[in-house]
């Protein structure tokens, strides 16, 4: 590949990866559920764009598949499904976090720092973009935080999906071409099925508890 082209690809990938991080932070402070779902769709769109850029600059056909699957599955289908669940069970739009947004933001700043510190020894191994591994680890940490901070079943599903986006980012950042197609396909279908299973459980929890608050799930102890 031509060096200038390579430089261009790296810059685009770095920019988009940073965009994914920014969206993750927006999700941390954003209280509206439907907006959160849209933000997730946008984040997935950036991931799909990264895959498409890699496919284009490296002439790797199978990475186009990855981009396409991400686009169909994570940008359109899953947000549509989650939207449907939210509308069907008519829950409150506002999500009450445990920590207020200022504290959450500070904490996520710390997570970002931690992500970069963990990734630092490995920057020489990164094949594409700058600091993409750091961003991937930060997505993981903030995803965990989102899960603990928002005590609603649907937001926990969303948090899980952002962690998943982080893994995919790590995969493309570290290995140039992403993973073999069979693995990508397997992971893709697992994520789809996982969200459907979670959806079924959300419905049942909603019916049984008349709520989506996971704090109500606290009878089993010891």
């Amino acid at each position: 590949m031509h060096p200038i082209q390579s430089e261009l690809a790296t810059q685009w990938i770095t920019l988009l990866a940073a965009g994914m991080l920014v969206i993750q932070l927006l999700m941390v402070v954003q209280g509206m559920l439907l907006t959160n779902i849209r933000l997730f769709a946008l984040q997935s769109l950036m991931l799909a764009a990264i895959a498409a850029i890699i496919a284009y600059f490296h002439n790797a056909t199978h990475v186009y598949w990855v981009a396409g699957l991400t686009l169909v599955g994570k940008v359109f289908f899953l947000p549509w499904l989650l939207n449907r669940i939210v509308r069907r069970i008519q829950i409150h739009q506002e999500i009450e976090p445990l920590l207020n947004s200022t504290a959450s933001m500070l904490l996520c700043g710390a997570f970002t720092l931690l992500g970069y510190v963990v990734a630092r020894p490995f920057t020489s191994l990164e094949q594409l973009g700058n600091n993409t591994l750091g961003i991937a680890i930060t997505l993981l940490l903030t995803g965990f935080f989102l899960m603990f901070n928002r005590r609603k079943a649907i937001t926990q599903v969303l948090a899980l999906l952002t962690v998943e986006n982080g893994v995919m980012l790590a995969a493309v950042a570290l290995t140039t071409y992403g993973m073999p197609l069979v693995v990508e396909l397997g992971i893709f279908f697992d994520v789809l099925v996982a969200v459907m299973v979670l959806g079924i459980l959300v419905y049942r929890i909603r019916e049984t508890f008349a709520s989506m608050d996971v704090d109500k799930l606290s009878q089993l102890k010891g």
């Binding site: 991937a136 069979v182 693995v183 697992d190 099925v193 299973v197 459980l201 508890f209 996971v214 010891g222």
Partner: protein, 492 residues
């Protein structure tokens, strides 16, 4: 002869057939036949992996089985077979009592073979990415089984299970990606291989820092699925709220399948680093699980939670056996996997019978004297409990002794003493709790159960197998375990 793909296809086909078959009896039969056929094929595999070159591959190395995989295949199929023998009668009683609908029973008979097929794919896949998504598939099929009763507690258990399990698996996927990245060759444009056989062959050239980071992620990730403390919090909930046949599968093999995945990474990490890094971690987590389980066993009030914590303790011991890394302790750990897989389902089957008769799992409400109410069930439970406590003449005694003596002999006096203490505490706990409900005379008057033989064939099958293999290990099986031990020990 092709062996590996039929082992996978048979249960998967049974699941699909159960989806279209309208009769419950036929679904039961299909499950039993499918698992019996898989078990037969597993025995065939047992012989196949002993002949040179000691590895069976199929579909262009997509499937690969060595001695360790063959051992896992045997455990998975035998526990599935026992479960399917038990499940028919169990659900007949549940249906009669109105606890489940016909649709939920169908759900069970469709999901259980899928669960088994997923576990078989985990141990037969050569590709670590495929192994990951097979594990995720087992988690997804079993979570609906945990939620089968649709009570609010079972939904809670299922939610915790799926959320913690998925988080764990996401971490494990990070670890898998890191391992993959460690194999990237910067000077070539070829895609690095995801295959275990290939990774093991080039273990010396992998980036050691990356492999270390990967192992930490995998340990926490697959460790969650294997129920290692402190990531075990889903385990007692899921085990106690699932229908008893599912609890038996979860505890009997599903934990060990996750452990198998972890062991594969341990083998690779040790081969790459040449240092005791990964086994020290296994040792620490194993000991932690054992010590965490013991007090919970002593103060437990719920029968199935008691059994779940006992599983946590046994998984801990298996990790310790591998972590001590002498050939004797590794052999003991493998032996322990097998005997535990035969023992724990019996306890869960008996607990299921008790649950259906007493309509509670709280041992206080059951009261004493179950031996008078359900004589055969109480007898089987008593025998299995003797085994689970680690008393002779059952196998768990021998495997625990093997791990302990290996530990002392290889100079790990401190660790072995700790293991002995944890085992003693668990022994006292199980003895105290179970004698309280089994022995004595009943205080609560209950209708004597007319169908006292319910579940006895399944329990008899597992206990019989356990008793036979406790005193007599056939040469092929012994050879298989020794070979598997060599694989874990790095075959130095």
């Amino acid at each position: 002869m092709t062996l590996l793909s039929p082992i996978l296809i048979v249960p998967a086909a049974a699941a699909l057939l159960c989806l279209v078959v309208p009769w419950r009896r036929m679904m039961e039969g299909l499950n039993i036949v499918a698992f019996a056929v898989s078990l037969g094929l597993g025995v065939g595999l047992l012989h196949a992996v002993q002949a040179p070159p000691c590895v069976v591959t199929e579909c262009g190395e997509f499937f690969r089985a060595d001695a360790l995989s063959a051992w896992m295949v045997l455990l998975i199929t035998v526990v599935s077979l026992g479960t399917s023998l038990y499940a028919g009668r169990y659900f007949r009683r549940d249906l009669a009592a109105g606890a489940v609908s016909a649709w939920q029973v169908k759900e069970f008979f469709v999901l259980t073979p899928l669960f088994t097929a997923g576990m078989l794919l985990v141990v037969l896949a050569n590709n670590m990415g495929v192994m990951w998504f097979a594990l995720e598939a087992t988690a997804l099929s079993s979570v609906l089984l945990v939620a089968l009763y649709n009570r609010n507690t079972s939904l809670e258990a299922a939610w915790k299970y799926v959320i913690l399990g998925s988080l764990g698996l996401a971490l494990a996927l990070f670890g898998t990606v890191f391992t993959y990245a460690a194999a990237v060759d910067k000077n070539s444009t070829n895609l690095p291989s995801f295959n275990w056989s290939h990774l093991m062959a080039m273990a010396g050239q992998l980036d050691p820092r990356m492999i270390k980071l990967a192992f930490v992620f995998v340990l926490v990730g697959y460790g969650t699925k294997a129920g290692l403390a402190p990531m075990h919090t889903w385990l007692p909930d899921a085990h106690s709220e699932a229908p008893s046949p599912t609890s038996a599968m979860l505890s009997g093999v599903s934990l060990k399948v996750a452990l198998y995945a972890l062991l594969r990474f341990h083998i690779l990490t040790t081969a790459c680093l040449g240092s005791p890094f990964s086994r020290h971690m296994l040792l620490a987590f194993g000991l932690g699980s054992m010590f965490l389980a013991a007090p919970f066993i002593l103060v437990q009030t719920n029968l199935k939670r008691l059994l779940a914590y006992s599983s946590l303790e046994h998984v801990g011991l298996i990790c310790v056996g591998v972590g001590l890394n002498s050939p004797v302790t590794i052999f003991g750990a493998l032996l322990h996997m097998g005997y535990h897989a035969l023992t724990k389902p019996v306890l869960f089957f008996a607990a299921g019978n008790i649950h259906q008769t007493c309509h509670t799992l709280q041992m206080r409400l059951m009261g004493s004297g179950l031996v008078k109410v359900l004589p055969l069930t109480a007898l089987c439970m008593g025998l299995a409990a003797v085994s689970a406590m680690g008393l002779p003449p059952f196998g768990l005694f021998f495997s625990e002794m093997t791990v302990l003596s290996g530990g002392f002999a290889s100079g790990h006096t401190f660790v072995s003493t700790l293991v002995l203490m944890a085992l003693l505490a668990a022994f006292c706990g199980i003895l105290y709790q179970l004698t309280r409900i089994l022995a004595g005379s009943p205080k609560v008057t209950r209708q004597t159960d007319a169908r006292a033989f319910d579940g006895v064939p399944a329990m008899g099958f597992m206990l019989g197998t356990l008793a036979v293999f406790s005193v007599w290990l056939p040469a092929p099986l012994l050879g298989l375990m020794e070979r598997a031990g060599h694989i874990i020990g790095g075959a130095q």
